[in-house]
Symmetry: C2
Subunit: 111 residues, 2 copies
DNA sequence: TCCATATTTCTATATTAATGGAAATATAGA
DNA sequence: TCTATATTTCCATTAATATAGAAATATGGA
């Protein structure tokens, strides 16, 4: 993941409404959720929601698919994992820091 | 972690210079790095760096300690892990999504 | 085709943040 | 105390983003 993509993704998440929406979609899983339902659950007016969904989409954090009259949005889990990996990359120069001090979570390879 | 704290942390990271600085400190580990060295390695003028370090500190993502004439900054790994956990919380409603589809990374409990 | 529902676009206003030079402040060694 | 080094504060300019109502557009069923 490149730095610019990470900044874009982080900026997309750095906003109360969008963070709420994204976390809702993370919890919804690959099934996703219709725009109207998202707005209802998060208490966001349609036009504002549309703006925020576009921001999240532009950042690559969510995807959408048309399903009948509904537009179903879902989290892009690969993008999310890339972002988390980017933040913790080469943590503590790769030493197994988590065993000695509160640091990065243990990576799969270490387990 | 509360939503407001997460937004503040994400906003702090959603900026090229700050993201670079934070990742440098993550890699540096608990030892940390002096402000001057950070600025030198990241190519950021002192006044700008000071501004950004304050933002990261305010967001709780980094800590500082005085050491002789130097101010040593280091990543707050607990805060980072809290943030990552907040983003992936209750992913896919807690089902072991990662085994069937690219989704959240497996949590420790699942391993 | 016509209608009800779902979503997006348009628009204007208001708020917040990034930048870096110069000056101020702090620290420790001589 | 004096000096060199390290860091922070001050400041003005420049730019970007959030908001939600109203209107426009898209979709599928009758």
């Amino acid at each position: 993941m490149e730095s610019k993509a990470a900044v874009t993704a982080l900026a997309a998440l750095a906003q109360e409404s969008r963070l709420t929406v994204f976390r809702l979609l993370v919890q919804a899983g690959p099934t996703g959720m219709a725009a109207g339902k998202i707005g209802e659950m998060c208490g966001i007016p349609a036009s504002s929601l549309s703006f925020h969904l576009k921001e999240l989409t532009y950042a690559g954090l969510i995807n959408s698919r048309q399903e009948s009259r509904f537009v179903i949005y879902s989290a892009n889990f690969n993008a999310m994992n890339d972002l988390l990996g980017f933040l913790t990359e080469n943590c503590c120069q790769g030493s197994a820091c988590s065993t000695t001090e509160a640091c990065c979570p243990p990576t799969e390879e270490l387990l």
